[in-house]
């Protein structure tokens, strides 16, 4: 006699399978929510820090440029925020409302930081090294991928270099204002360096030609490293 089909077993297996599916979905969403919260916390911290710097700057004015040295502040935090936001964008999708909201806030923080850096450094007589980068991730900009890698590499090598990345298609008035102030067309990727626009892919070498200070910074760093090495060797002797 053939084993008969036990409907209860089929149903039990189905119930467990559905439970595992739903469970995986819930856990996945929970982790996503945690990540969103983490990103919000970072954004909040950066916002607080910018406000603090702005206030400090307003108090001290140009009397003490060293006291408000903003040249490399938040660079690391902004970079970390950028990476995490990117991860979430990839994970939840670029159209996810939470992701869009976080991106908008991130863009605002970038503009605030940009303005602060500009104010501080101009008043202290230093020319800021900044790149404003416009990209698109709607599939119409193949070169944006490579340009992104180039800028990441430069940012890693030169912490003094401040790169502000804006989604060209982000529906945010501040981004639109930036676009119109600098007259950026929709030929992407687009870089704005010292108020001049550069369209299409630019390699690290090309950017170094546009910003000669980068070479100087590298030379200075290499010299300092060599000196430090020499000192360490002589100390050992």
């Amino acid at each position: 006699m053939r084993k008969t089909i036990d409907s209860k077993k089929y149903i039990l297996a189905l119930a467990i399978t559905v439970a595992v599916f739903v469970g995986a979905l819930i856990i996945s969403n929970k982790f996503s929510a945690q990540r969103i919260a983490e990103i919000k916390a970072i954004e909040s911290n950066i916002s607080m820090d910018i406000l603090s710097s702005e206030t400090q700057f307003a108090l001290l004015k140009e009397s003490s440029c060293k006291a408000v040295d903003h040249s490399s502040a938040f660079s690391e935090e902004l970079n970390e925020l950028a990476q995490k936001l990117s991860y979430m964008e990839d994970s939840l999708g670029a159209k996810n409302s939470e992701v869009i909201s976080l991106k908008k806030y991130y863009s605002l923080l970038q503009v605030k930081d940009y303005l602060l850096v500009k104010q501080v450094q101009e008043k202290c007589g230093v020319k800021p090294i900044t790149i404003i980068y416009f990209y698109s991730n709607t599939g119409d900009c193949e070169e944006c991928v490579r340009e992104g890698y180039v800028l990441t590499r430069l940012r890693q090598e030169f912490p003094e270099l401040r790169i502000y990345a804006f989604d060209y298609n982000l529906d945010l008035s501040v981004v639109n204002t930036m676009k119109s102030i600098y007259g950026v067309r929709d030929t992407l990727p687009a870089l704005n360096i010292w108020e001049e626009n550069y369209y299409g892919f630019k390699s690290a070498e090309e950017i170094e030609i546009i910003i000669p200070q980068l070479k100087k910074l590298r030379a200075a760093r290499e010299k300092a490293e060599a000196e430090a090495k020499e000192t360490a060797t002589s100390t050992k002797k």
């Binding site: 084993k3 990839d90 890698y149």
Partner: protein, 447 residues
């Protein structure tokens, strides 16, 4: 195979990640997003059914757990020893046939109840000469015939036999001493059982491929044992499957069936509602292919045979009359090939895409792009990945229990690693070709 489908899914985990500054993101527009969603949906459906089947098998495992105690039993005596004939068909097996026959003569079973018929199926090597050393053994009969294929040799042996139970042992396999005793006991205990299949174990695995097959056989043995109480076994493999004589009297002898006659015969038995059981305590060691080409040839024959025989017996599919065989086991063996290939294609596509992206990244950023990010934020907890973890976990439970079933206790080995790492990559070779051959009705060869 189910386990392998899921083991593969793990490879999806390292997805493309990028820096906001990099703005990598999707390289295609709305249309390609729709296409991607379509393929993802298919994957979700496949994952759901795969998980369902694994859960179903695990429930059966928990039901059967007490009956699945492994370990070699102590010497036992039976109340009745059915007369037995074991047929050893051989074709150019000069190197292994002696060992096979000697393993048969050494088993714990009354000598007057056990006959061995060695049939040389027109060998062109020294097989006939080698087996002459057994000609004076009263338990052994030697027959030489013109080459006609394995099933013709076995059929001749069945016709020559007068025993109550009849089995076959391929000349590249070796039985453990208690194997027949265990099977005979099962026949005594269950009068409705018409055939018994043993637990197949890889004989002395030496190459990486053989070690990979060792774990594959372990996992397969576990699944076969699970299918046994569900009356869903659809292959009575050549090495030491034993039948009641009445089976052949009722449904006839083996017939040519896409070089997988053992599957056709099992399906024919199932259509006559004859009970086939897996006796996991009856251990039989079988030699497995040691090179990729030999493995490919063997598995192509199996995969092609499974698909063609399933098509021949398609009236079983999704018929409640045939129980779990019709509703689950047989559809799984057929459609599982497509699911396997789909998953493989999905993973291959994503692997190539992410590798391409990584190469671009490395070419621009240098070796710093290879440094992994250890921040817990980046641990992939996507829905599909969590599901893959679950499926992989159940796959490991299957392997674990397969090893326990074969060896008495679980012990980690490189074989498991080889199986996890290699199987998913090489199995598509024969599955793809099998699908191609079935589509073109292009047969396979034995060797």
């Amino acid at each position: 195979m189910i386990a392998n489908v899921h083991l593969q899914a793990i490879a999806i985990l390292p997805n493309i990640r990028y820096n906001v500054c990099e703005k990598t993101v999707r390289t295609s527009g709305l249309f390609s997003i729709m296409i991607e969603s379509f393929f993802n949906t298919i994957l979700y459906i496949f994952l759901f059914f795969s998980l369902y089947l694994e859960v179903f098998f695990m429930i059966t495992f928990f039901e059967e757990r007490e009956n699945m105690k492994a370990g070699k039993p102590a010497q036992k005596k039976l109340s009745y020893y059915p007369s037995t004939t074991i047929i050893v068909p051989c074709w150019n097996e000069e190197k292994t046939v002696s060992g096979t026959v000697e393993s048969l003569l050494a088993i714990n079973y009354p000598k007057n109840k056990l006959n061995v018929i060695i049939i040389d199926d027109g060998s062109t090597d020294n097989t006939w000469h080698v087996i002459q050393k057994f000609k004076n053994n009263p338990q052994i009969s030697l027959i030489k015939k013109e080459n006609g294929g394995k099933h013709t040799a076995v059929n001749l042996g069945i016709q020559e036999s007068t025993s109550e139970i009849i089995g076959c042992l391929d000349a590249d396999s070796f039985v453990e001493k208690n194997a027949l005793l265990e099977i005979a006991e099962a026949f005594n205990e269950d009068q409705d059982m018409m055939a018994a299949t043993p637990m197949l174990i890889v004989h002395e695995p030496k190459t990486i491929l053989q070690k990979m097959q060792k774990t594959e056989y372990h996992a397969g043995a576990f699944l076969k044992r699970i299918l046994s109480p569900l009356d869903a076994i659809y292959v009575t493999p050549g090495p030491f499957s034993i039948f009641r004589r009445t089976v052949f009297e009722k449904i006839g002898l083996y017939k040519h069936a896409h070089n997988t006659e053992d599957m056709e015969f099992a399906l024919r038995m199932q259509t006559h509602h004859m009970r086939i059981r897996n006796i996991h305590t009856a251990h039989v060691h079988t030699t497995t292919p040691d090179t990729l080409y030999k493995l490919y040839r063997q598995r192509l024959r199996w995969a092609y045979g499974i698909m063609k025989n399933t098509l021949d017996y398609r009236f079983i599919l999704f018929r409640r009359e045939y129980g779990i065989l019709g509703m689950i086991a047989l559809p799984l063996s057929f459609f599982g090939v497509f699911v396997f290939l789909y998953n493989f294609g999905f993973i291959l596509f994503h692997t190539i895409r992410s590798s391409f992206s990584k190469i671009i990244e490395i070419s621009i950023k240098g070796t710093s792009a290879l440094v992994p990010n250890f921040d817990s934020f980046y641990i992939n907890t996507d829905f599909i990945v969590l599901l893959a973890y679950v499926l992989f976990g159940i796959g490991l439970v299957i392997i674990w229990n397969g090893v326990k079933l074969a060896e008495g206790r679980f012990s980690p080995s490189m074989s498991i690693l080889y199986f996890i790492v290699l199987y998913g990559f090489i199995a598509p070779l024969w599955f793809t070709r099998a699908v191609f051959n079935v589509a073109l009705s292009k047969g396979t060869k034995w060797r």
